[in-house]
C-alpha cells in the first residue's frame, strides 16, 4: 500500500514527524507480514473481520442451498425428492448454520471490522484472541459441514431437544458434532464479545463520551453483553448433552433424576437472547444508514440507546414463551406473556425514531436505504406476529407450525438480513475501496423483497390451517398444496436476488468505481480514514466533539498525538467521558493463536469420540497457550518516536 495523505478531516496538531514519514513508520510497525506465514499470523482486526464476513457469507449461501432443497421437497404434497433422514439433516443444518455459523458471526464480524474504526482506535482489544476466535469459528463450521457431507450431519433440529438428541434416540456421532460445533462457535463468540466490550469501554477516541458513541457501537456493546450472559448457557447445555451421550451422565435422563425440560430451559435462556444478539447489531446498521441517507442526525438518540439497553435486559426474560405448550405452570406462562409483549415497547420506540428520522430528513434512495425501508416493512410485520405468539392461547395453536416459521423469518431475515445487505452496500466502499453497483443493488433489493414475501407470507396461513413445522412431507387434500408451491416459487426468486448480489460483488471487486474516503457523506469516524483503511486505521487519533463528528467538524477533526510509531501502541481512555488515560502496547502478529486454535480443535473433535481427548488434548493446548503468553522483554528504545 502506497503512503497516502491522511484524510483531509484530520487536523495536524503538535510537532512530530513529517506526515509521510509518520505514515511510513506506522505502516512498518502495524502492517501484517507478507506471505502465507503473515496471513496465518495476522492479528489485524480488519483482516480478521474480512475473513469472518466472507466465511459467514459462504455459510449463508450453503444454508440457503439447503433451504432451497427443502422448498423443492415441499413444493408439492407427498414428494420423495428427499428421504426423511436426509430432510431432517438438511433442516437441522439449515437452522444450525444460519443461526450459529452465519447470523451471529456475521454480526460480530462487522463489529470486529467497524467498532475500532468507529471509536477511533488503531486496533481491537486482544487482537490475538480475535485471530484465535476466527480460527476456532472456522474449524467449528468446517467440522460441522464435513460431518454433514460424510453423512454425520446432525438430524435432530437446530434446537436439539432431548431426548431425541440424547444417546438413546440419536445414535452415532451426528448430534455430538452438533454439540461440539456449539462449543466451537460459542468460544469464538465469547472471545469477540469480550474484545468488543473492552474496545468500546477503554479505547474510544478522546472526547467520545458515552452519549457520543455511534448507535452501531451501542448496539454491538449491548449485544456483546448479551453474548457474555447468554452463550455460557448453551455451552453448558451442549457440554451436558455430550457428556450424557459419551460418558453416560444423566442430566437429561428423567428416569435417573435428570429432566428433559432442563435442556429447553437452558437452550432457550440462550436461544431467545440469541435472536436479539442477531437483531441488535442490525438495528445498529439501520441507525448508521438512516441518518446518512436521510442526511439528518438520527432522531431520538437517547431513546434509541435506552431502547437497546431495555431490549438487552428484557431479552433474557422471555425464553419461556418458547415453552408455552410444555405444560409449565400457568401463572409463570402469564408472566412471560407480559414480558414478551413488553418488548414491543422498545421495538416500537426504535421504529418510531427511524420513521421520524426519515420523515424529517432529505433522503437519498440509494440501495442501503432501500434495504432499510424493506427492513421496516418486513420487520414490523414480524414483530406484530410476535405479539400474537406472546399470547399463550394463540401460541398454543400456532407454536411449532409454519406460522412460527413465517414469524421468525420475518424477524430474522427482515430484521437482520435486510439491514445486513444494506450494511454491505453501505460499507463495501470502506472495506474494499470500490462501490457496488446501484442498479444491480436495486434489482437485488427488488428480487429479495418480492421473493421473500412470496416465500414466507403464505407460511402464516399454512400454520394457521394446521401445517406443522419440520415435516419432510405432507398429505394432499388439507389445503396446503398451493400455498407451499407459492412459497417455493418465492424462495426461487429470493435465491435469484442473492445471485444478483453475488454478481454485483464480483463485478464491483473487479470493475467497480473506486470509492472516496467518505462516499456517502456519513458522519462517523470510520469514514475519517482512507477506503480501505490503513493497517493502523488512523495516522493520528481523532478527537471527538459531538455525536456526528464528521458533520460537526466539516473542516477536519482535531487529533491527539504522542503514541509511538515504532511499536504498536494504543490510547486508552476513561469509560464514561473518554478522557485519555494511558498508552498501552498492542500485540504483534503471532502464529500462536492459530496453533492454539488447532489444539483446541483437536481437543474438541477428539472429545466427540473419547473423553480422554480432554485429558490428552489439553497438553498441546497448554503448549499453545504457553507460547502465546510467553513474556517478552521490553524493547530497548530510549527515545520513543511518537506521531
Amino acid at each position: 500500500m502506497s503512503p497516502r495523505d491522511a484524510s483531509p478531516f484530520i487536523r495536524r496538531d503538535g510537532p512530530a514527524l513529517e506526515e509521510v514519514e509518520t505514515y511510513a513508520r506506522l505502516e512498518r510497525t502495524w502492517a501484517t507480514p507478507p506471505g502465507l506465514w503473515g496471513w496465518l499470523s495476522s492479528v489485524d482486526h480488519k483482516q480478521v473481520g474480512r475473513r469472518y464476513i466472507v466465511t459467514a457469507f459462504v455459510f449463508f449461501l450453503l444454508a440457503g442451498l439447503l433451504a432451497l432443497a427443502m422448498r423443492m421437497q415441499l413444493a408439492g404434497p407427498e414428494q420423495t425428492l428427499l428421504t426423511p433422514d436426509r430432510y431432517n439433516q438438511i433442516f437441522t443444518m439449515h437452522g444450525t448454520t444460519m443461526m450459529f455459523l452465519f447470523a451471529v458471526p456475521v454480526m460480530e464480524a462487522f463489529a470486529i471490522y467497524l467498532v475500532p474504526l468507529m471509536v477511533g482506535t488503531r486496533a481491537i482489544a486482544f487482537p490475538r484472541l480475535n485471530a484465535f476466535s476466527y480460527w476456532v469459528y472456522l474449524a467449528g463450521g468446517v467440522m460441522l459441514w464435513v460431518a454433514f457431507i460424510l453423512n454425520v450431519g446432525p438430524d435432530v433440529g437446530w434446537f436439539s431437544y432431548v431426548p431425541l438428541a440424547g444417546p438413546q434416540f440419536s445414535p452415532g456421532k451426528r448430534t455430538d458434532f452438533w454439540a461440539q460445533m456449539i462449543t466451537f462457535t460459542e468460544v469464538a463468540a465469547l472471545a469477540v464479545a469480550v474484545e468488543i466490550i473492552v474496545t468500546v469501554f477503554k479505547q474510544r477516541a478522546p472526547g467520545m463520551s458515552l452519549n457520543r458513541i455511534p448507535l452501531f457501537v451501542w448496539g454491538q456493546l449491548v449485544t456483546s453483553f448479551m453474548v457474555v450472559f447468554a452463550m455460557p448457557a448453551v455451552m453448558v447445555s451442549s457440554s451436558m448433552l455430550i457428556m450424557d451421550r459419551l460418558i453416560g451422565t444423566h442430566f437429561f435422563n428423567p428416569a435417573e433424576g435428570g429432566d428433559a425440560l432442563l435442556w429447553q430451559h437452558l437452550f432457550w435462556f440462550f436461544g431467545h437472547p440469541e435472536v436479539y444478539i442477531i437483531f441488535l447489531p442490525a438495528t445498529g446498521f439501520v441507525s448508521s444508514i438512516l441518518p446518512t441517507f436521510a442526511r439528518r442526525p438520527i432522531f431520538g438518540y437517547t431513546a434509541l440507546v435506552l431502547a437497546l439497553v431495555a431490549t438487552g435486559f428484557l431479552g433474557f426474560g422471555l425464553w419461556v414463551h418458547h415453552m408455552f405448550v410444555t405444560g409449565l405452570p400457568h401463572l409463570g406462562n402469564s408472566f412471560y406473556t407480559a414480558a414478551s409483549m413488553a418488548i414491543a415497547v422498545p421495538s416500537g420506540i426504535q421504529i418510531f425514531c427511524w420513521l421520524a428520522t426519515l420523515w424529517d430528513g432529505r433522503p437519498r434512495f440509494a440501495t442501503p436505504l432501500l434495504f432499510v425501508i424493506g427492513f421496516i416493512v418486513i420487520f414490523v410485520l414480524g414483530g406484530l406476529s410476535g405479539i400474537m405468539l406472546a399470547s399463550v392461547p394463540i401460541d398454543s395453536q400456532v407454536h411449532d407450525t409454519y406460522f412460527v416459521v413465517a414469524h421468525f423469518h420475518y424477524v430474522l431475515i427482515g430484521g437482520a438480513v435486510f439491514p445486513l445487505f444494506g450494511a454491505v452496500y453501505y460499507w463495501f466502499p470502506k472495506f474494499t475501496g470500490r462501490m457496488l453497483s446501484e442498479r444491480a443493488g436495486a434489482w437485488n433489493f427488488g428480487l429479495f423483497f418480492v421473493g421473500f414475501n412470496l416465500a414466507f407470507f403464505p407460511m402464516h396461513i399454512l400454520g394457521l390451517i394446521g401445517m406443522p413445522r419440520r415435516v419432510y412431507s405432507y398429505p394432499a387434500g388439507l389445503g396446503w398444496d398451493d400455498l407451499n408451491l407459492l412459497a417455493t416459487a418465492g424462495a426461487t426468486i429470493l435465491a435469484a436476488g442473492v445471485l444478483v448480489f453475488l454478481g454485483n460483488v464480483w463485478h464491483s471487486l473487479k470493475y467497480g468505481l473506486v470509492a472516496d474516503d467518505n462516499p456517502w457523506g456519513a458522519a462517523t469516524l470510520e469514514w475519517a480514514t482512507t477506503s480501505p483503511p490503513p493497517s493502523f486505521n488512523f495516522v493520528h487519533i481523532p478527537v471527538v466533539t459531538g455525536s456526528n463528528p464528521l458533520w460537526e467538524e466539516p473542516d477536519g477533526l482535531p487529533v491527539v498525538g504522542g503514541l509511538r510509531v515504532d511499536q504498536r501502541e494504543l490510547l486508552l481512555t476513561s469509560v464514561v467521558d473518554a478522557e485519555p488515560e494511558v498508552r498501552e502496547p498492542s500485540p504483534e502478529p503471532s502464529i500462536w493463536p492459530l496453533l492454539s486454535a488447532t489444539a483446541v480443535t483437536i481437543l474438541f473433535i477428539g472429545s466427540i469420540f473419547t473423553p480422554w481427548a480432554v485429558v490428552w488434548g489439553s497438553i498441546p493446548l497448554a503448549v499453545g497457550l504457553i507460547g502465546w503468553f510467553w513474556p517478552k522483554s521490553a524493547p530497548d528504545t530510549p527515545e520513543p518516536v511518537i506521531d
Partner: protein, 188 residues
Amino acid sequence: MSSPCRRSVSLAVLAVLALAACDREEREPRGAPVGESGPQAIAQGSLYAGEPSPPDPRRQEYEGNAYHLAQGKQLYVWFNCNGCHSNGGGDIGPPLMDDTWIYGDSLENIFATIVQGRPNGMPSFRNKIPETQIWEIAAYVRSMSGQTPTAASPGRNDSLNAKPAEQRAPKAEPKQSNPGGPQVEGRQ
C-alpha cells in the same frame, strides 16, 4: 479469502479418515437386502469343526452401524430378550456381556442362535422376527461385550442405569465354553 482452499484440503484429509463414518451413520431402516434365509449353515470356527466360513458380507452393514445397533438395542427390549438375559448380565438365560459364548461369538452364530433357538430354553424366533431385525439384535448382542466399534455402539438409555453403556464396555476377548449344544443339564 483463501479459506475455500484450506477447506478443500482439510476436507480431502478428513474424507479419507472418516470414510467409515458414512457407513457408521447411514440410517437404512430396511437393513441389508434380505437374503434367502440367513446363513447357509452354522458358521464354522472354533465352535464347530471345519474351515471357518468367510464372513457374511452383511456383517459390516449391521455391526459398524450406529442406527442398526440402536435399533437392535430397542428390539432387545421390545422382544423380551432382556426378560431372560437382563441388560447383559443374564438371568434365566446366560449373560451376554462376558467373554463366554456357548454357541459361538460371530454375528452368524448369534443370528443362528436366535433363529433356531437352542436346547435348554432359548426359544426359536424363526418367522417371528424379520431377518433384518434379527441381524440388528445379533449385532447389538455383540456390542454388549465391546465387539463392535466404539463410535457406533449405543450410549446410555433414558432409563435405569444398569451398567455402563455398550460404547464404554471393555472389549472381552471371546472364549468359548461348554461348546456342544444339547447338554442336558448344562446351561443353555
